[in-house]
Amino acid sequence: MNEYLIQTKDLNFQFNNKRKILENLSLNIPKGSIYGFLGPNGAGKSTTMRLITGLLNEQQNESIYLFGETLSKQLPQIFKRIGSIIETPTLYLHLSGYDNLKLIATIQEVPNSKIQEILELVELSKFQKQKAKQYSLGMKQRLAIGMALLNDPELLILDEPVNGLDPQGIIEVRQLLKKLNKEKGITIFISSHLLSEIEKTCTHVGIINQGKLLFEGSLGDLGNKNKNITVDIILDEVEKYHSKLNGFEVTQIDSKTLQFVLDNEKEIPELIQNLVQNDFQIYGVNKRGGLEDWFINLTDKK
């Protein structure tokens, strides 16, 4: 039986009577997974994370379960088993990297030796004496992750951890998370609005829009859902070929680009051959990931 470290059962939430922020949200984060919580801005991701970590004081007694038990029963001691970063990295800017870690170590009752270990893990050993306000955003993020790892958590909850990082930074964080998951078996619950990030990092996905869960499952499951492929063909000009477009499912994107909808990937070579035979002057072919499309469509719906 697969253990779920986080479960929400028909979670509902609203700040006031006007608008429901979350509606019947049922999440299941399996143990050992890297679960990506995906949705556009304003979908309710941060709110969900705040609810799960008890930051919003709505104790949804029956709706939120951590490690199989209701949340309210376990606060605040449950934080000995969890590490979390909610929204922007929260650090004490006037303290050094070392002191920030020391602070958490004191609260988590973790020996000082662990601090150096963590500093090495997040590659901040060289900068440990500098005040956090002098760190770059990437360094701050790594320090925050380090602080979340001090207590050797079984579960990491990260709200948009790569937000604002440069590509190098994004890669570093991604590699770190995968390493932690593989080597220590830490379950990671991570939210983002970037589909590409989720695709590259996660094992499971939950997609949320306007407070409702639209999809939940493994990454493989997600791939299978999206057979439809769209291909953008870039021509010299579209005008010339108008007459030859019968029989294709096609839309014109702009004066040079036509978008073809195909059933699956396998039909792409056939399409190209077809067009070439029909004297289409092809300057470029872009395969639009079905997933991305599907995602945009999905979250576009009102």
Binding site: G54, K80, E87, Y92, L93, L103, T106, I107
Partner: protein, 734 residues
């Protein structure tokens, strides 16, 4: 349980780490050290430290008391700034959500910060205390002559420090609760500064509420308990109101929204309501003023410590100076039990070394007095069933702007305005009377309060009558009854109240109305006595007549006049005691009247030689009778010395100061520093001198002519212009 403690310890240690490099504690320490240090440097620069001491001085105590008020202000600032900043650490870094996703209860988080603040307050006070001690110790070491210098940490200073820490709880908690609730740093600073400014303003307007945070702190610094308790109601209030604020603040913090914290469901509503009601109830109960209860005996008891050997004390009528009761003083203790009915009022308690103090007492009152005569100061501590009456300001010293207006003819032609001002001032003084309370939150009892209210009315009616007098000169049709003030207050004063006759204003009103219809050419005093004589015989008349005769005697210049007055009006008296008393006074007056022979006093000069009055025959002699412990004497003597300087070249007149100190050493140390233009003497036998010259109170001024006869045995005070006039005229008539 251990879970709670470890939680709290972790949170507390986390706070210590967080406060690194914020310099919050450093600021507190620096500011606390600053005041004593600056004062010390100032003393060094001024060379003040090598002062000539004449009595035992505790350097620590002196420094502590002089620095403490400025320190109070600093401590308040530190409390406000620290309370604001400790929450700002989280708001600035957005770390509330960091610490709330740690294994720390909200309770630990909230109260670890609060405890830090309390510790910072303690640090501030301790650093000040220690620095003051160090500074005063150095000043002590610098003293060349250590005869009178001591250095000692007294119980009082420790008590003040502890009380102050407790009193700071209110302000600290208030600012803390606000700073956690509202992320805007400026808000809590504004509240803090606002409290400081509003306190000054409200105090100046005399409407500072009893419960104001900065009143509570100033109580700890300046108002110790009169009843011997370590803490007063003020510190108790500080603790309870802090609990209330912490309850509200913590609940609101832990539950994020007001609704969740207090009104979420039946249980929260009832616990919140119950807690708030109980704590507020206690606060109200603490702030409610108390009144002493009467006893079942009338008793004056107490102790008197003095270098003089005191054997007797007296209870004296404040108005006539008649001795009502005499009691022995043995082993520095005294006890006077009064079995007759004693009318509630102000009396004087006097001792045989001339130390005097007013005392308010009546039937079934127990008044306890501790008199401490040390060196040049006398301190009186009065407790008992008339605690408030004896410790709050007296109406006798009332001075108002409207009195100034009337005597200086401001708005003289606008009676409506005068009437309005009188009403306004009356109401404001009435309010002030109602708002007065002692350090232990006691107020004046209803019966004496009623007397004071009548005194107040009499004061203002008297002013209106004075105004009327001036107006009638200009406009004989002026009717004082037409104006609002008269309509409002005139009938509130019963004109036949014997109890009120002690009050000067009341007597003046009564007498003025009695002689209103007397249009003869006689002087006012005579008209008054005539009118009083005509009254039916009762206690009212008795008292009025007695005081009238006394005042006539005091004002009279010639002995024969005094005898005349007494003979004429004594028929109106029925109480033998009064008659005898007045008789004695008349004899005294004759003895000391103009041209009577002045008794040949005997006194020591600074070299120990005996000096007698007869030694000055052929010169005018002006005498200032004083004592080292007499406060009013210190106030008036400079004027006497000024006059002495003025006439220094005049060979016909000599200025003498005769001290009635029992303690010769105290007298020598003060007298030797006085200007040489005044000859310093001390009576060889104080009792004899006092009796011969009828020294009822000091300071007392006497003028004797070249033949050794009295010119005036009771001159005006040296700081009154009448004094100079008498001198001038006397010398001129030469």
């Amino acid at each position: 349980m251990t879970q709670y403690i470890s939680n709290f310890t972790k949170a507390f240690r986390a706070e210590s780490i967080k406060m690194k490099s914020t310099r919050i504690v450093l600021t507190a320490i620096v500011l606390s050290v600053l005041i004593p240090l600056m004062a010390f440097v100032f003393s060094l620069i001024n060379g003040e430290y090598n002062s000539d001491l004449t009595e035992k001085t505790n350097f620590f105590q002196v420094s502590f008391n002089s620095y403490i008020s400025v320190f109070e202000f600093i401590a308040i600032l530190v409390a406000i700034i620290s309370a604001s900043r400790i929450s700002q650490i989280e708001f600035k870094n957005n770390t509330w959500q960091l610490i709330e996703t740690q294994p720390l209860s909200k309770f630990s988080i909230y109260f670890a910060k609060y405890s830090k603040l309390l510790i910072i307050n303690a640090i501030t006070i301790s650093v000040f205390f220690a620095t003051t001690y160090v500074v005063s110790f150095i000043l002590y070491l610098l003293q060349e002559n250590k005869e009178f210098a001591t250095i000692n940490i007294g119980f009082e200073e420790i008590q003040t420090a502890i009380r102050f820490w407790v009193s700071l709880l209110f302000l600290t908690t208030l600012i803390y609760v606000i700073s956690v609730r509202f992320s805007n740093f400026i808000l809590s600073i504004i509240v803090g500064i606002g409290l400081i400014i509003s306190t000054s303003i409200l105090q100046a307007l005399n409407i500072l509420p009893k419960w104001y945070p900065l009143k509570i702190t100033s109580n700890a610094i300046s108002n110790p308990s009169d009843l011997g308790y370590f803490f007063t109601y003020s510190e108790g209030f500080s603790v309870v109101i802090s609990l209330l604020l912490l309850f509200i603040g913590y609940k609101w913090y832990a539950n994020k929204t007001f609704k969740n914290a207090f009104v979420k469901n039946g249980k929260t509503i009832s616990t919140s309501l119950a807690t708030i009601l109980i704590l507020s109830g206690i606060c109200f109960w603490i702030l409610k003023p108390n009144q002493m209860m009467q006893s079942n005996e009338t008793l004056i008891s107490g102790t008197i410590t003095s270098p003089d050997n005191i054997k007797e004390g007296y209870l004296v009528d404040a108005l006539t100076n008649a001795t009502l009761y005499t009691f022995p003083v043995s082993e520095n203790q005294f006890k006077l039990q009064i079995t007759e009915d004693l009318k509630l009022g102000k009396y004087h308690l006097k001792f045989d070394n001339a130390i005097t103090t007013p005392i308010i007492i009546g039937k079934n009152d127990i008044v306890n007095i501790e008199v401490e005569h040390k060196g040049n100061d006398v301190n009186f501590k009065k407790t008992g069933t008339r605690l408030a009456e004896n410790n709050l300001a007296d109406l006798a010293e009332l001075s108002t702007t409207i009195a100034y207006f009337i005597s200086n003819d401001i708005y003289a032609d606008n009676p409506t305005k005068i009437s309005e001002e009188l009403i306004d001032e009356y109401e404001s003084q009435l309010k002030k009377l109602g708002n007065a309370y002692t350090n232990d939150n006691y107020i004046i009892r209803d019966d004496y309060r009623a007397i004071q209210q009548k005194q107040l009315i009499a004061y203002f009616i008297n002013l209106w009558n004075q105004y009327e007098k001036k107006q009638l000169v200009k406009d004989e049709n002026f009717k004082k009854q037409d104006y609002e003030f008269y309509k409002l207050l005139n009938d509130k004063l019963n004109r036949k109240d014997t109890e009120m006759l002690f009050d000067n204003n009341y007597r003046q009103i009564v007498v003025q109305e009695l002689i209103a219809n007397d249009t003869s050419d006689l002087d006012e005093n005579t008209k008054s006595l005539n009118a009083i004589l005509k009254l039916p015989n009762d206690s009212f008349k008795e008292k009025l007549l007695t005081t009238g005769i006394v005042s006539a005697i005091d004002q009279s210049k010639s002995a024969s006049e005094i005898v005349d007055v007494f003979d004429t009006y004594k028929v109106g008296l029925t109480d033998a005691k009064n008659i005898n008393y007045l008789n004695a006074k008349v004899q005294d007056a004759i003895r000391l009247g103009k041209n009577a022979k002045a008794p040949n006093f005997e006194a020591f000069d600074l070299n120990g030689n005996i000096v007698r009055l007869q030694d000055f025959k052929g010169k005018f002699v002006v005498i200032d009778v004083w004592a080292t412990w007499c406060g009013p004497c210190k106030y008036v003597s400079p004027s006497f010395e000024k006059a002495a300087n003025q006439y220094a070249k005049n060979e016909n007149i000599v200025f003498i100061a005769i001290s009635v100190d029992k303690n010769k050493i105290a007298w020598i140390s003060q007298a030797k520093n006085k200007p040489k233009t005044v000859k310093q003497l001390i009576a060889t036998n104080i009792d004899t001198f006092g009796k011969e010259y009828s020294i009822e109170s000091i300071p007392r001024f006497i003028l004797i002519d070249k033949e050794g006869n009295f010119v005036n045995s009771k001159m005006p005070m040296a700081n009154e212009s009448a004094f100079d006039i008498v001198l001038e005229n006397t010398l001129k008539s030469e």
